[in-house]
Subunit: 353 residues, 4 copies
Amino acid sequence: MTEKVRVAIVGGSGYTGGELLRILAVHDKVEITMVTSREYTGKPITLVHPHLRGFLSMNFTNFELNKVGDKADVIFLALPHGVSLHYVPKLLEMGLKVVDLSADYRLKDPNLYKEWYGYEHPYPDLLKKAVYGLPELHREELKNTSLIASPGCNATATILALSPIVKHGITRELRFVSDVKVGSSEGGAKPHEGSHHPERENAIRPYEADGHRHSAEAEQELSILAGKPVKVSIVPHAVSNIRGALASSHAWIDDENIDELKIWKLIASFYTGNKFIRIIRGGIHPYPDPKYVIGSNFADIGFALEKRVGRLTVFAAIDNLMKGASGQAVQAFNIMMGFPEDSGLRIPPLRPA
Amino acid sequence: MTEKVRVAIVGGSGYTGGELLRILAVHDKVEITMVTSREYTGKPITLVHPHLRGFLSMNFTNFELNKVGDKADVIFLALPHGVSLHYVPKLLEMGLKVVDLSADYRLKDPNLYKEWYGYEHPYPDLLKKAVYGLPELHREELKNTSLIASPGCNATATILALSPIVKHGITRELRFVSDVKVGSSEGGAKPHEGSHHPERENAIRPYEADGHRHSAEAEQELSILAGKPVKVSIVPHAVSNIRGALASSHAWIDDENIDELKIWKLIASFYTGNKFIRIIRGGIHPYPDPKYVIGSNFADIGFALEKRVGRLTVFAAIDNLMKGASGQAVQAFNIMMGFPEDSGLRIPPLRPA
Amino acid sequence: MTEKVRVAIVGGSGYTGGELLRILAVHDKVEITMVTSREYTGKPITLVHPHLRGFLSMNFTNFELNKVGDKADVIFLALPHGVSLHYVPKLLEMGLKVVDLSADYRLKDPNLYKEWYGYEHPYPDLLKKAVYGLPELHREELKNTSLIASPGCNATATILALSPIVKHGITRELRFVSDVKVGSSEGGAKPHEGSHHPERENAIRPYEADGHRHSAEAEQELSILAGKPVKVSIVPHAVSNIRGALASSHAWIDDENIDELKIWKLIASFYTGNKFIRIIRGGIHPYPDPKYVIGSNFADIGFALEKRVGRLTVFAAIDNLMKGASGQAVQAFNIMMGFPEDSGLRIPPLRPA
Amino acid sequence: MTEKVRVAIVGGSGYTGGELLRILAVHDKVEITMVTSREYTGKPITLVHPHLRGFLSMNFTNFELNKVGDKADVIFLALPHGVSLHYVPKLLEMGLKVVDLSADYRLKDPNLYKEWYGYEHPYPDLLKKAVYGLPELHREELKNTSLIASPGCNATATILALSPIVKHGITRELRFVSDVKVGSSEGGAKPHEGSHHPERENAIRPYEADGHRHSAEAEQELSILAGKPVKVSIVPHAVSNIRGALASSHAWIDDENIDELKIWKLIASFYTGNKFIRIIRGGIHPYPDPKYVIGSNFADIGFALEKRVGRLTVFAAIDNLMKGASGQAVQAFNIMMGFPEDSGLRIPPLRPA
């Protein structure tokens, strides 16, 4: 048996951290050597993640930059936006590989950080080196990188829905509304007014509806595919689910010759060979529903065409903590390490759940 | 004290029937004289509607067309589509007033029945006489009618969202996607595969996504307002709520001079004087959310403009069983009868719920 | 028309405050003259209670003890435990009537405050004057009091379940387990770790399982009824609902002669004439379920007897914010003021919800 | 690599069938060779179980008793109660091993079938041979059986909660109330009135409260442990969850010398060496909650002692489809086959979910 890769998780007390732990604790090529948390240093991991009792007996440690090199080969950063920023160059210098789940290295154009995140990005060169961790679009680059910028969940769903369409340029214009419905775990593990159960349950609550940050990365990726500027307006809505995100990406198609079969072929061929993409069409459940990917790394893609008015909607359903965050991060990590892409991710969705 | 109006509810065992009962049982100008149900004839109403114990001690009766004239002045028909169709002309002939909650008399153009509902409408003249029961658009006509065709819930939300916009013609084109999220009560009181709790809870499930029937009535009403053809593509999604519907109606605006203030004024002025419309802007809850209208007849209207790409979304939040069905039916009934429009409807929403 | 009673609500930003506002805003004998909130002073009430838009246009004010006498005849105190304590004697001295929703004046024996709440009660005389605001047990005393100590929700459900049983002494011993299931609104409007939606939804979480404070008031009331000491162990469980509490109060009955009919008669006769108690037996919904009292002031009472082993369970279902808090407070207030007991409370439950 | 065991699942379209498929599709010692369904014969398994797309490409077949011997070594029967009854002896005669998830072979005393299930059991000899498939109580017997009678979910939770207590005889009497809260998946995959989403969601609904069938098997197992008759009254309540069951098993302890530490030791030592039992005590989550076992085969056991009144509650939290059904069936199957007990079951719970 080959030696296992030593993995450290920085920021392990949140939901994406917990989800990395759930996956990596039973990943046969990984040894978790360190899990850090400022708030819970010295406390058992299972104090915060009670579901992992029986899987992990470690304690959280403090994150000490100069010691992590002895302990780990790969670092997963599951930190709030802006916190990973200065760790990344130092970790890379120490010869470590980095998977960053924050937005800090997702955008290629440094100006976009000013526009969308309100700060000047101090490492524009690293932005070029980072690979946007969506394997369906960047598999080859992931094989040769040391820095993965793992995508945002609403962006993942939107990009996966629109990529085949944008690639083939079949819509009236390259401008889209992606109406996204997401569960409460997307907001992270810290309680706040909006996450208070009596307020959050039964909500159908639009938020950041005048401009959602994930639009920037979605536009970046789709514009590359199209070879010209694409505009995407992501309109997220908080719904009652804990997990799950559905992007309903709407477009107008005025070409009379486009029919359902053509769109199906175009989507199916675009994703050929991608294990975590399932194309949904017909049957009892004719459209994607996040309900049927819960706990797994799948993205289910489907569509509806209302020819009468020329409206096309492509749906992408993901588990926001898996394909929308930690699952996708492990998928990209597997590729970077030369492991089978689905190592540790052969997890069937949970149903009913 | 003036005499009360005698009201019969035909089809009283379903959810819209139950909601009519909840309202009318404490409506000070109404006496409920008959509630019919084929399935539960002879059984206490509270067997089916256990929440109404203490309010109604009647039994369900069978519906006998020739006897209802002696018992009631106004008939509410809470029946499946197609069942009201032949009752209506007979009830009108008997001198009764009718509030029909089905789709059978909503569309003015008989051809649309063939296209959307698959049958030839046998009473095209009555279609002309029927008033589409959306008080915000047809208040004056409602005062002088004997036949109210009460709107569908997804149509109500969509029409209320888009009316001010369409009226002023500020969008790039008169073609809209109305992405609607709805609770499970919309599907009625009969269990089916899709309503089974383990399948329905946690769903974010698109349905009738290639053409939803309510588009027909929405297009009819919006085209009247615009004075030219309007196209609306309603894309409904079943979400976990029991009650509530949110229409997120998306449009492109390429006019650089349009800003948030203009849109707000335009919406606010359109709805001036309408008691059941609340315009939402700013504050802790800056957008409409059906959560805050539950149990009430309100429609909360708000919007978001993403100027960067020219995307406008108008949101309308309703309780699908109230403003989306029975509440609106009583509101229109009040107008028809000359009662204060909010008689029996001064019900604050329930929160948290 | 007679003049309305002027009411002030102190602590109006929480859930019990909001629920008082929902009821009193449409109560025909009440004028709300002041609503206080330390945190939201000067802000519109509807900022915090968005559902009440259209019903209340007032702002929150600060609570100034010496001014409240000019503004109000009756004060509802919807404050955390321990905060009402010192206000009450001063408000009474000013000639005001007080309805206190906290636990501060519920217990007759001052020693119990030390045992259960950890403080020495400074006004033992007032404890004697206060009337425990459960109308089904203290209706006559409520007519002649100026100080109502409104019961806790888990206590209300437990007392209503066990009163008829305890009164007739039919159980093996006067010791009971009351297994209570409650919704998240019981914890109030302030977010905390345990109320965070991803943690709270889908929980079936026992809490305070080694001794719940409401046991003290339940034992007090039941001991009075029994004429001897009664022991009640309340074991609360947080479940997914927002509203609702079900007490399943378990007892052993070894008397072979007791059957279902006897128990039914005993419960039904105990509650004769109580408008807000509904006895549930048989039918499609043979046991109480909080689902069918949501939004209303009803307590539904039913039972199950497993003769095989001699186990009796009495169930009481309430809406924890209504009969378990604000609804019951208004009911007791109505009695104190000589109004019809159901003034402002003729609200049918919401269903489905 | 050794050859895999060939497994057939009879009745594969329901929830326990689906859960067996989810586990066995990635179980490294199992090959699924046949999945039967009367209703869906010839249809893809993923039509009914959309979550398994990508894992199983087989179709459902009809169940033909005389052919199954060629196809499989072990048969899982996931059929309604009474349907397995006559299959079992024939399958055993054919030399197959059988895991029956129904109640048909759980009870040792044939008279109990008449009492609780209403039929005369035709194979009393087989009842003796069958092993009740709770590994924590019958591990050794499971190693040498060909017929496993897999326990019911409410019984599993109740037995696991009470076993250590009953074994040590520390309670006042051997009579218990087990107040169980369960999710909707327990009712199976067929829609019915009570499972209709608007009725089922937000329910806290007692059912079979005057005698629940699982009491029979719980009493059987606990009586064996105690060496004398034990009485258990299971009182189930349907709550909003899809998955999860919590048994709160209540008892009186009048022995003053019993304290928390003693009870903890007694429970912990009883379960020593059992991988799927986790003892819960202290921390942020001091009591078991089914929320933290979802999707896994764990049973979390904890307790609360209210010394003041002598009340002990032992809590057991399980996923009703896993440790309460299919997970436990696979655990027992592993033991019967000589596989590691956790083969295919090293699945961490999903959180948050």
